[in-house]
Protein backbone atom coordinates (compact mmCIF):
# COMPACT_ATOMS: atom_id res chain seq x y z
CA UNK A 1 0.00 0.00 0.00
CA UNK A 2 1.26 3.42 -0.94
CA UNK A 3 1.54 6.23 1.55
CA UNK A 4 -0.60 9.14 0.39
CA UNK A 5 0.81 12.61 1.05
CA UNK A 6 -1.19 15.78 0.55
CA UNK A 7 0.64 19.06 0.07
CA UNK A 8 -1.78 21.73 1.18
CA UNK A 9 -1.94 25.28 2.53
CA UNK A 10 -5.29 26.96 2.07
CA UNK A 11 -3.61 30.09 0.79
CA UNK A 12 -2.38 30.38 -2.79
CA UNK A 13 1.13 31.17 -3.94
CA UNK A 14 2.92 29.81 -0.88
CA UNK A 15 4.77 27.06 -2.72
CA UNK A 16 2.53 23.98 -2.80
CA UNK A 17 3.37 22.96 -6.33
CA UNK A 18 7.08 23.71 -5.89
CA UNK A 19 7.01 21.58 -2.75
CA UNK A 20 5.03 18.76 -4.37
CA UNK A 21 7.46 18.60 -7.26
CA UNK A 22 10.51 18.76 -4.99
CA UNK A 23 9.46 16.12 -2.48
CA UNK A 24 8.11 13.77 -5.14
CA UNK A 25 11.45 14.00 -6.92
CA UNK A 26 13.31 13.61 -3.61
CA UNK A 27 11.39 10.45 -2.72
CA UNK A 28 11.86 8.98 -6.17
CA UNK A 29 15.58 9.79 -6.21
CA UNK A 30 15.93 7.80 -3.02
CA UNK A 31 14.53 4.77 -4.76
CA UNK A 32 10.85 4.98 -3.89
CA UNK A 33 8.44 4.66 -6.76
CA UNK A 34 6.43 7.86 -6.53
CA UNK A 35 3.46 9.41 -8.32
CA UNK A 36 2.60 13.08 -8.07
CA UNK A 37 -0.94 14.17 -8.90
CA UNK A 38 -2.07 17.68 -9.78
CA UNK A 39 -5.47 18.32 -8.17
CA UNK A 40 -5.69 21.87 -9.45
CA UNK A 41 -8.17 21.13 -12.21
CA UNK A 42 -8.54 24.06 -14.58
CA UNK A 43 -5.34 25.76 -13.41
CA UNK A 44 -2.81 23.04 -13.88
CA UNK A 45 0.84 23.92 -13.54
CA UNK A 46 2.55 20.98 -11.92
CA UNK A 47 3.41 19.79 -15.43
CA UNK A 48 5.23 23.09 -16.04
CA UNK A 49 7.24 22.83 -12.84
CA UNK A 50 8.09 19.23 -13.71
CA UNK A 51 8.93 20.19 -17.28
CA UNK A 52 6.60 17.67 -18.90
CA UNK A 53 3.95 20.02 -20.29
CA UNK A 54 4.64 18.99 -23.85
CA UNK A 55 4.03 15.36 -23.14
CA UNK A 56 0.55 15.70 -21.64
CA UNK A 57 -1.95 13.67 -23.65
CA UNK A 58 -4.45 12.40 -21.11
CA UNK A 59 -5.12 13.78 -17.66
CA UNK A 60 -6.55 12.97 -14.22
CA UNK A 61 -10.13 13.71 -15.31
CA UNK A 62 -9.82 11.44 -18.35
CA UNK A 63 -8.80 8.63 -16.03
CA UNK A 64 -11.64 9.32 -13.60
CA UNK A 65 -14.15 9.35 -16.46
CA UNK A 66 -12.72 6.14 -17.89
CA UNK A 67 -11.64 7.85 -21.11
CA UNK A 68 -8.04 6.77 -20.61
CA UNK A 69 -6.25 4.19 -18.55
CA UNK A 70 -3.97 5.22 -15.73
CA UNK A 71 -0.95 3.97 -17.68
CA UNK A 72 -1.86 6.14 -20.63
CA UNK A 73 -2.16 9.24 -18.48
CA UNK A 74 0.88 8.82 -16.22
CA UNK A 75 3.94 10.64 -17.53
CA UNK A 76 7.33 9.27 -16.61
CA UNK A 77 9.72 11.97 -15.45
CA UNK A 78 12.66 12.71 -17.71
CA UNK A 79 15.14 12.94 -14.82
CA UNK A 80 14.09 9.98 -12.72
CA UNK A 81 12.44 6.82 -13.94
CA UNK A 82 10.78 6.08 -10.60
CA UNK A 83 8.77 9.29 -10.74
CA UNK A 84 5.44 9.63 -12.55
CA UNK A 85 3.23 12.66 -13.02
CA UNK A 86 -0.54 12.62 -13.36
CA UNK A 87 -1.45 16.05 -14.73
CA UNK A 88 -4.68 17.91 -14.09
CA UNK A 89 -7.10 18.80 -16.82
CA UNK A 90 -6.84 22.38 -18.00
CA UNK A 91 -10.16 22.46 -19.80
CA UNK A 92 -12.47 21.17 -17.07
CA UNK A 93 -13.32 22.59 -13.69
CA UNK A 94 -13.04 21.09 -10.26
CA UNK A 95 -16.58 19.69 -10.37
CA UNK A 96 -15.25 17.03 -12.70
CA UNK A 97 -13.48 15.49 -9.70
CA UNK A 98 -15.55 13.11 -7.61
CA UNK A 99 -14.81 11.50 -4.28
CA UNK A 100 -15.33 8.00 -5.73
CA UNK A 101 -13.33 8.77 -8.87
CA UNK A 102 -10.37 10.08 -6.89
CA UNK A 103 -10.61 7.12 -4.52
CA UNK A 104 -10.54 4.69 -7.42
CA UNK A 105 -7.49 6.27 -9.02
CA UNK A 106 -5.59 6.40 -5.72
CA UNK A 107 -6.56 2.81 -5.04
CA UNK A 108 -5.21 1.71 -8.38
CA UNK A 109 -1.99 3.69 -7.89
CA UNK A 110 -1.58 2.29 -4.40
CA UNK A 111 -0.88 -1.16 -5.71
CA UNK A 112 2.06 -0.05 -7.79
CA UNK A 113 3.56 2.95 -6.02
CA UNK A 114 5.17 3.56 -2.64
CA UNK A 115 4.32 7.22 -2.34
CA UNK A 116 1.54 9.28 -3.88
CA UNK A 117 1.93 13.04 -3.59
CA UNK A 118 -1.29 15.03 -4.02
CA UNK A 119 -0.69 18.64 -5.01
CA UNK A 120 -3.71 20.47 -3.61
CA UNK A 121 -5.21 23.57 -5.18
CA UNK A 122 -5.52 26.70 -3.04
CA UNK A 123 -8.72 27.37 -1.19
CA UNK A 124 -10.92 25.06 0.82
CA UNK A 125 -13.31 24.03 -1.88
CA UNK A 126 -13.90 20.73 -3.57
CA UNK A 127 -10.48 20.31 -5.21
CA UNK A 128 -8.63 20.95 -1.95
CA UNK A 129 -11.02 18.75 -0.02
CA UNK A 130 -10.61 15.83 -2.43
CA UNK A 131 -6.82 16.23 -2.42
CA UNK A 132 -6.70 15.79 1.34
CA UNK A 133 -9.55 13.34 1.86
CA UNK A 134 -7.56 10.13 1.32
CA UNK A 135 -4.28 11.42 2.80
CA UNK A 136 -2.16 9.56 5.32
CA UNK A 137 0.28 12.44 5.79
CA UNK A 138 -0.15 16.15 5.26
CA UNK A 139 2.59 18.62 4.42
CA UNK A 140 1.21 21.99 5.42
CA UNK A 141 3.04 24.64 3.44
CA UNK A 142 3.08 27.98 5.22
CA UNK A 143 4.70 31.35 4.56
CA UNK A 144 5.86 33.34 7.55
CA UNK A 145 3.03 35.83 7.39
CA UNK A 146 -0.17 35.98 9.36
CA UNK A 147 -2.77 35.27 6.66
CA UNK A 148 -0.91 32.20 5.48
CA UNK A 149 -0.60 30.93 9.05
CA UNK A 150 -4.31 31.47 9.64
CA UNK A 151 -5.21 29.60 6.45
CA UNK A 152 -2.91 26.73 7.38
CA UNK A 153 -4.61 26.53 10.73
CA UNK A 154 -7.94 26.26 8.94
CA UNK A 155 -6.59 23.48 6.71
CA UNK A 156 -5.40 21.61 9.79
CA UNK A 157 -8.93 21.85 11.18
CA UNK A 158 -10.32 20.39 7.97
CA UNK A 159 -7.73 17.60 8.01
CA UNK A 160 -8.73 16.78 11.57
CA UNK A 161 -12.44 16.66 10.84
CA UNK A 162 -13.13 15.96 7.16
CA UNK A 163 -10.45 13.52 6.03
CA UNK A 164 -11.23 9.86 5.51
CA UNK A 165 -9.15 8.98 8.55
CA UNK A 166 -11.18 11.41 10.66
CA UNK A 167 -14.49 10.16 9.28
CA UNK A 168 -13.61 6.52 9.92
CA UNK A 169 -12.18 7.28 13.35
CA UNK A 170 -8.80 5.94 12.31
CA UNK A 171 -5.43 7.21 13.42
CA UNK A 172 -5.42 10.91 12.43
CA UNK A 173 -3.58 12.24 9.40
CA UNK A 174 0.04 12.96 10.35
CA UNK A 175 0.62 16.68 9.99
CA UNK A 176 3.95 18.30 9.17
CA UNK A 177 4.89 21.93 8.85
CA UNK A 178 6.92 23.26 5.97
CA UNK A 179 7.82 26.90 6.38
CA UNK A 180 8.59 28.25 2.93
CA UNK A 181 9.97 31.53 1.57
CA UNK A 182 11.66 32.13 4.91
CA UNK A 183 13.99 35.09 5.02
CA UNK A 184 15.97 35.27 8.29
CA UNK A 185 17.06 38.86 7.71
CA UNK A 186 13.47 40.01 7.30
CA UNK A 187 12.48 38.04 10.37
CA UNK A 188 15.19 39.85 12.27
CA UNK A 189 13.96 43.23 11.14
CA UNK A 190 10.43 42.28 12.15
CA UNK A 191 8.98 42.30 8.65
CA UNK A 192 8.26 38.60 8.77
CA UNK A 193 6.98 36.21 11.38
CA UNK A 194 9.71 34.09 12.92
CA UNK A 195 9.64 30.34 13.31
CA UNK A 196 8.67 30.70 16.96
CA UNK A 197 5.72 32.96 16.14
CA UNK A 198 4.44 30.48 13.58
CA UNK A 199 4.92 27.53 15.89
CA UNK A 200 3.18 29.43 18.67
CA UNK A 201 0.03 29.40 16.57
CA UNK A 202 0.30 26.10 14.72
CA UNK A 203 2.37 23.91 17.08
CA UNK A 204 3.18 21.32 14.44
CA UNK A 205 6.04 18.96 13.80
CA UNK A 206 8.48 21.04 11.72
CA UNK A 207 9.73 19.14 8.72
CA UNK A 208 11.82 21.94 7.34
CA UNK A 209 12.38 25.57 6.56
CA UNK A 210 12.80 26.47 2.91
CA UNK A 211 14.66 29.77 2.59
CA UNK A 212 13.52 32.39 0.10
CA UNK A 213 15.74 31.75 -2.89
CA UNK A 214 16.03 32.87 -6.46
CA UNK A 215 16.84 29.33 -7.45
CA UNK A 216 13.17 28.38 -6.90
CA UNK A 217 12.01 30.69 -9.66
CA UNK A 218 14.89 29.72 -11.92
CA UNK A 219 14.13 26.04 -11.42
CA UNK A 220 10.41 26.57 -12.05
CA UNK A 221 11.09 28.40 -15.27
CA UNK A 222 13.43 25.63 -16.37
CA UNK A 223 10.82 23.00 -15.59
CA UNK A 224 13.09 21.25 -13.14
CA UNK A 225 12.18 20.56 -9.50
CA UNK A 226 14.39 22.76 -7.32
CA UNK A 227 15.59 19.76 -5.31
CA UNK A 228 17.74 18.80 -8.32
CA UNK A 229 19.66 22.06 -7.88
CA UNK A 230 21.93 20.69 -5.20
CA UNK A 231 23.93 23.89 -4.94
CA UNK A 232 20.95 26.04 -4.00
CA UNK A 233 19.84 26.47 -0.40
CA UNK A 234 16.24 25.73 -1.33
CA UNK A 235 17.32 22.52 -3.03
CA UNK A 236 19.30 21.44 0.03
CA UNK A 237 16.43 22.39 2.32
CA UNK A 238 14.03 20.17 0.36
CA UNK A 239 16.60 17.39 0.42
CA UNK A 240 16.61 17.70 4.23
CA UNK A 241 12.81 17.66 4.30
CA UNK A 242 12.65 14.39 2.39
CA UNK A 243 15.34 12.85 4.60
CA UNK A 244 13.52 13.91 7.78
CA UNK A 245 10.23 12.64 6.44
CA UNK A 246 11.83 9.26 5.84
CA UNK A 247 13.04 9.18 9.42
CA UNK A 248 16.54 10.66 9.28
CA UNK A 249 17.51 13.03 12.03
CA UNK A 250 18.92 16.18 10.51
CA UNK A 251 19.40 19.50 12.27
CA UNK A 252 17.33 22.38 10.98
CA UNK A 253 19.14 24.87 8.78
CA UNK A 254 18.42 28.28 7.29
CA UNK A 255 16.77 29.61 10.46
CA UNK A 256 19.51 32.09 11.19
CA UNK A 257 20.80 34.97 9.14
CA UNK A 258 23.72 34.00 6.92
CA UNK A 259 26.08 36.08 9.01
CA UNK A 260 25.46 33.73 11.88
CA UNK A 261 26.35 30.84 9.65
CA UNK A 262 27.90 28.58 12.27
CA UNK A 263 24.90 29.01 14.47
CA UNK A 264 22.94 27.26 11.78
CA UNK A 265 23.06 24.02 13.70
CA UNK A 266 20.57 25.41 16.19
CA UNK A 267 17.87 22.79 16.47
CA UNK A 268 14.43 24.05 15.61
CA UNK A 269 11.62 23.22 17.95
CA UNK A 270 9.16 20.65 16.88
Amino acid sequence: MARIIVVTSGKGGVGKTTTSAAIAMGLAKRGHKTAVIDFDVGLRNLDLIMGCERRVVYDFINVINGEASLNQALIRDKNCNLLYILPASQTRDKDALTLEGVGKVLDELSGDFQYIVCDSPAGIEKGAYLALYYADDAFVVTNPEISSVRDSDRMLGILASKSRRAENNEEPVKEFLLLTRYDPSRVKSGEMLGLDDVQDILSLHLLGIIPESKSVLTASNAGMPVILDEKSEAGQAYEDVVARYLGEDRPHRFIEDKKGFFRKLFGGKS
Binding site: G103, K104, S110, Y134, D153, R154, G157, A160, I201
Partner: protein, 267 residues
Protein backbone atom coordinates in the same frame (compact mmCIF):
# COMPACT_ATOMS: atom_id res chain seq x y z
CA UNK B 1 -10.54 2.37 0.01
CA UNK B 2 -13.97 2.97 -1.53
CA UNK B 3 -16.03 -0.12 -1.97
CA UNK B 4 -17.04 0.01 -5.59
CA UNK B 5 -19.11 -3.16 -5.63
CA UNK B 6 -21.94 -1.99 -3.37
CA UNK B 7 -24.33 0.86 -4.02
CA UNK B 8 -25.04 1.82 -0.46
CA UNK B 9 -24.45 0.96 3.10
CA UNK B 10 -26.26 1.56 6.37
CA UNK B 11 -24.27 2.83 9.27
CA UNK B 12 -25.41 3.96 12.63
CA UNK B 13 -24.00 7.28 13.61
CA UNK B 14 -24.46 9.82 16.35
CA UNK B 15 -25.46 13.44 16.00
CA UNK B 16 -26.00 16.27 18.37
CA UNK B 17 -29.28 18.02 17.76
CA UNK B 18 -30.70 20.90 19.75
CA UNK B 19 -34.07 20.19 21.31
CA UNK B 20 -36.55 23.01 21.39
CA UNK B 21 -38.71 22.67 24.47
CA UNK B 22 -41.81 24.80 24.19
CA UNK B 23 -43.45 26.20 27.30
CA UNK B 24 -45.83 28.54 25.54
CA UNK B 25 -48.25 27.99 22.67
CA UNK B 26 -48.25 31.63 21.62
CA UNK B 27 -46.64 31.63 18.16
CA UNK B 28 -45.65 35.29 18.32
CA UNK B 29 -43.97 34.88 21.71
CA UNK B 30 -42.13 31.76 20.53
CA UNK B 31 -40.91 33.45 17.40
CA UNK B 32 -39.72 36.54 19.24
CA UNK B 33 -37.93 34.58 21.92
CA UNK B 34 -36.31 32.30 19.34
CA UNK B 35 -35.19 35.23 17.27
CA UNK B 36 -33.48 36.71 20.31
CA UNK B 37 -31.63 33.47 20.94
CA UNK B 38 -30.63 33.17 17.32
CA UNK B 39 -29.32 36.72 17.26
CA UNK B 40 -26.89 35.79 20.01
CA UNK B 41 -25.33 32.99 18.01
CA UNK B 42 -26.56 33.36 14.43
CA UNK B 43 -23.98 31.07 12.92
CA UNK B 44 -24.74 28.31 15.29
CA UNK B 45 -28.45 28.31 14.56
CA UNK B 46 -28.19 28.86 10.82
CA UNK B 47 -29.78 25.87 9.08
CA UNK B 48 -29.60 23.95 12.32
CA UNK B 49 -31.64 20.76 12.62
CA UNK B 50 -34.01 20.78 15.56
CA UNK B 51 -36.28 18.47 17.50
CA UNK B 52 -39.47 20.02 18.84
CA UNK B 53 -40.40 18.90 22.34
CA UNK B 54 -44.08 19.34 23.18
CA UNK B 55 -44.11 17.42 26.43
CA UNK B 56 -44.22 20.49 28.64
CA UNK B 57 -47.00 22.08 26.62
CA UNK B 58 -49.17 19.00 26.72
CA UNK B 59 -48.52 18.63 30.41
CA UNK B 60 -49.93 22.10 30.96
CA UNK B 61 -52.81 21.30 28.61
CA UNK B 62 -51.77 23.85 26.00
CA UNK B 63 -52.38 22.85 22.41
CA UNK B 64 -50.24 23.97 19.51
CA UNK B 65 -50.45 23.54 15.76
CA UNK B 66 -47.41 21.57 14.62
CA UNK B 67 -47.79 22.58 10.99
CA UNK B 68 -47.81 26.28 11.83
CA UNK B 69 -44.93 25.92 14.26
CA UNK B 70 -42.86 24.03 11.71
CA UNK B 71 -43.52 26.67 9.08
CA UNK B 72 -42.46 29.38 11.49
CA UNK B 73 -39.24 27.53 12.40
CA UNK B 74 -38.37 26.98 8.76
CA UNK B 75 -39.06 30.63 8.03
CA UNK B 76 -36.43 31.72 10.54
CA UNK B 77 -33.87 29.31 9.17
CA UNK B 78 -34.21 26.22 11.36
CA UNK B 79 -34.89 22.69 10.14
CA UNK B 80 -37.23 20.72 12.39
CA UNK B 81 -36.35 17.05 11.97
CA UNK B 82 -38.54 15.52 14.61
CA UNK B 83 -41.06 16.04 17.34
CA UNK B 84 -41.61 14.31 20.61
CA UNK B 85 -44.05 14.42 23.44
CA UNK B 86 -46.87 15.34 21.05
CA UNK B 87 -50.46 14.18 21.32
CA UNK B 88 -52.15 12.07 18.69
CA UNK B 89 -53.29 15.03 16.66
CA UNK B 90 -49.84 16.64 16.74
CA UNK B 91 -48.11 13.41 15.78
CA UNK B 92 -50.47 13.09 12.83
CA UNK B 93 -49.61 16.62 11.73
CA UNK B 94 -45.91 15.83 12.01
CA UNK B 95 -46.29 12.70 9.92
CA UNK B 96 -48.09 14.72 7.30
CA UNK B 97 -45.00 16.96 7.11
CA UNK B 98 -42.72 13.88 6.92
CA UNK B 99 -41.27 14.76 10.29
CA UNK B 100 -40.44 11.67 12.37
CA UNK B 101 -42.24 11.29 15.66
CA UNK B 102 -40.37 10.13 18.71
CA UNK B 103 -42.71 7.70 20.36
CA UNK B 104 -40.97 7.85 23.70
CA UNK B 105 -39.68 4.57 25.07
CA UNK B 106 -40.45 2.47 22.02
CA UNK B 107 -37.60 1.10 19.99
CA UNK B 108 -38.45 2.33 16.56
CA UNK B 109 -36.05 3.83 14.11
CA UNK B 110 -37.19 7.39 14.67
CA UNK B 111 -36.41 7.01 18.31
CA UNK B 112 -32.89 5.94 17.46
CA UNK B 113 -32.18 8.88 15.21
CA UNK B 114 -33.60 11.41 17.55
CA UNK B 115 -31.83 10.25 20.61
CA UNK B 116 -28.45 9.22 19.34
CA UNK B 117 -26.90 12.51 20.32
CA UNK B 118 -27.84 12.12 23.88
CA UNK B 119 -26.78 8.50 23.92
CA UNK B 120 -23.29 9.66 23.18
CA UNK B 121 -23.33 12.43 25.73
CA UNK B 122 -24.51 10.02 28.28
CA UNK B 123 -22.09 7.24 27.48
CA UNK B 124 -19.16 9.34 28.67
CA UNK B 125 -20.44 9.29 32.19
CA UNK B 126 -21.33 5.62 32.11
CA UNK B 127 -18.95 3.01 33.40
CA UNK B 128 -16.81 1.42 30.67
CA UNK B 129 -18.77 -0.79 28.31
CA UNK B 130 -17.33 -4.09 29.47
CA UNK B 131 -18.74 -3.70 32.93
CA UNK B 132 -22.24 -4.00 31.49
CA UNK B 133 -21.32 -6.12 28.52
CA UNK B 134 -22.08 -9.38 30.34
CA UNK B 135 -25.71 -8.63 29.73
CA UNK B 136 -26.00 -7.60 26.13
CA UNK B 137 -29.73 -7.22 26.17
CA UNK B 138 -29.60 -4.80 29.02
CA UNK B 139 -26.79 -2.98 27.35
CA UNK B 140 -28.95 -2.60 24.32
CA UNK B 141 -31.98 -1.22 26.03
CA UNK B 142 -30.46 0.90 28.69
CA UNK B 143 -29.26 3.89 26.67
CA UNK B 144 -32.54 4.84 25.11
CA UNK B 145 -34.41 4.23 28.33
CA UNK B 146 -32.34 6.60 30.38
CA UNK B 147 -32.13 9.18 27.64
CA UNK B 148 -35.56 10.33 28.58
CA UNK B 149 -34.18 11.56 31.86
CA UNK B 150 -31.00 13.05 30.59
CA UNK B 151 -32.15 15.53 28.03
CA UNK B 152 -35.36 16.65 29.62
CA UNK B 153 -34.37 19.79 31.42
CA UNK B 154 -37.08 19.23 33.97
CA UNK B 155 -34.83 16.93 35.96
CA UNK B 156 -31.82 19.11 36.71
CA UNK B 157 -30.67 16.61 39.28
CA UNK B 158 -29.36 14.47 36.43
CA UNK B 159 -25.88 15.83 35.63
CA UNK B 160 -25.13 16.67 32.02
CA UNK B 161 -21.80 15.17 31.08
CA UNK B 162 -18.88 17.36 30.15
CA UNK B 163 -16.97 17.14 26.92
CA UNK B 164 -13.19 16.85 26.76
CA UNK B 165 -11.29 17.88 23.66
CA UNK B 166 -7.62 16.89 23.47
CA UNK B 167 -6.82 17.95 19.91
CA UNK B 168 -6.16 21.59 19.00
CA UNK B 169 -9.30 23.44 17.96
CA UNK B 170 -8.29 24.95 14.63
CA UNK B 171 -9.54 28.00 12.80
CA UNK B 172 -12.97 27.36 11.33
CA UNK B 173 -13.79 24.51 13.70
CA UNK B 174 -16.70 24.80 16.05
CA UNK B 175 -17.42 22.81 19.15
CA UNK B 176 -20.63 22.78 21.12
CA UNK B 177 -20.95 21.11 24.50
CA UNK B 178 -24.24 20.58 26.26
CA UNK B 179 -22.53 20.63 29.62
CA UNK B 180 -19.05 21.83 30.44
CA UNK B 181 -16.39 22.00 27.77
CA UNK B 182 -12.79 21.20 28.61
CA UNK B 183 -10.15 21.83 25.97
CA UNK B 184 -6.68 20.48 26.71
CA UNK B 185 -5.07 22.07 23.69
CA UNK B 186 -5.00 25.49 22.10
CA UNK B 187 -8.01 27.17 20.53
CA UNK B 188 -6.93 29.00 17.37
CA UNK B 189 -8.11 32.34 16.13
CA UNK B 190 -11.17 31.79 13.98
CA UNK B 191 -12.33 28.78 16.01
CA UNK B 192 -15.50 28.85 18.06
CA UNK B 193 -16.16 26.93 21.24
CA UNK B 194 -19.53 26.99 22.94
CA UNK B 195 -20.89 25.36 26.04
CA UNK B 196 -24.13 25.46 27.94
CA UNK B 197 -21.98 25.19 31.04
CA UNK B 198 -18.44 26.32 31.84
CA UNK B 199 -15.50 26.42 29.46
CA UNK B 200 -11.99 25.42 30.50
CA UNK B 201 -9.05 25.88 28.15
CA UNK B 202 -5.76 24.52 29.44
CA UNK B 203 -3.75 26.35 26.83
CA UNK B 204 -3.96 29.55 24.81
CA UNK B 205 -7.44 30.74 23.92
CA UNK B 206 -7.31 32.73 20.70
CA UNK B 207 -10.70 32.01 19.18
CA UNK B 208 -14.20 32.76 20.37
CA UNK B 209 -15.46 31.23 23.59
CA UNK B 210 -19.12 31.36 24.55
CA UNK B 211 -20.15 29.87 27.88
CA UNK B 212 -23.67 29.53 29.23
CA UNK B 213 -25.10 29.83 25.73
CA UNK B 214 -28.54 28.70 26.87
CA UNK B 215 -28.74 31.46 29.42
CA UNK B 216 -26.76 30.12 32.35
CA UNK B 217 -25.44 33.34 33.87
CA UNK B 218 -23.41 31.42 36.45
CA UNK B 219 -21.24 29.82 33.76
CA UNK B 220 -17.57 30.77 33.70
CA UNK B 221 -14.66 30.64 31.32
CA UNK B 222 -11.22 29.59 32.50
CA UNK B 223 -8.07 29.70 30.43
CA UNK B 224 -4.30 29.80 30.81
CA UNK B 225 -3.63 32.51 28.25
CA UNK B 226 -6.38 34.87 27.21
CA UNK B 227 -5.95 36.15 23.66
CA UNK B 228 -9.53 35.51 22.63
CA UNK B 229 -11.30 37.22 19.77
CA UNK B 230 -14.50 37.20 21.76
CA UNK B 231 -15.65 35.93 25.11
CA UNK B 232 -19.28 35.64 26.09
CA UNK B 233 -21.24 34.39 29.03
CA UNK B 234 -24.95 33.96 28.62
CA UNK B 235 -24.99 36.43 25.74
CA UNK B 236 -22.98 39.22 27.38
CA UNK B 237 -19.79 39.55 25.46
CA UNK B 238 -16.51 41.37 25.03
CA UNK B 239 -14.43 41.45 21.89
CA UNK B 240 -10.65 41.42 21.78
CA UNK B 241 -10.73 45.19 21.37
CA UNK B 242 -11.96 45.46 24.93
CA UNK B 243 -9.66 42.88 26.43
CA UNK B 244 -6.53 44.27 27.96
CA UNK B 245 -3.25 42.72 27.00
CA UNK B 246 -2.30 42.66 30.66
CA UNK B 247 -4.25 39.48 31.11
CA UNK B 248 -2.27 37.59 28.47
CA UNK B 249 -0.10 34.65 29.44
CA UNK B 250 -1.75 34.40 32.83
CA UNK B 251 -4.38 31.99 34.04
CA UNK B 252 -7.68 33.86 34.26
CA UNK B 253 -11.32 33.24 34.92
CA UNK B 254 -14.19 35.18 33.44
CA UNK B 255 -17.57 35.44 35.09
CA UNK B 256 -20.68 37.54 34.96
CA UNK B 257 -21.60 40.09 37.58
CA UNK B 258 -24.58 42.39 37.03
CA UNK B 259 -24.38 41.85 33.28
CA UNK B 260 -20.73 42.83 33.22
CA UNK B 261 -17.99 40.40 32.32
CA UNK B 262 -15.33 40.30 35.00
CA UNK B 263 -11.89 39.01 34.05
CA UNK B 264 -9.81 38.05 37.00
CA UNK B 265 -6.39 36.53 37.31
CA UNK B 266 -6.36 33.23 39.12
CA UNK B 267 -3.75 33.71 41.80
Amino acid sequence: MTNTSSVLEFKSSTFFTPILILYSNDPAAIEQSLQEKINRAPDFFKNSPLVIDLRELNKSGLDIDVIETTEMLRRIGLFPIGIRGGNEQQNKQANKLSIPVDAGGEHDSANQTLNTGTTKAQSTQQPPQDSVADNTVQNDIEPSESIVHIDSTQSPAEPVSSMIVTQPVRSGQRIYARGDLIVMSQVSAGAEIMAEGNIHVYNTLRGRALAGVQGNTAARIFCLDLQAELISISGDYKTSEHLTKQMQKKPVQIYLQDHALIIKEIA
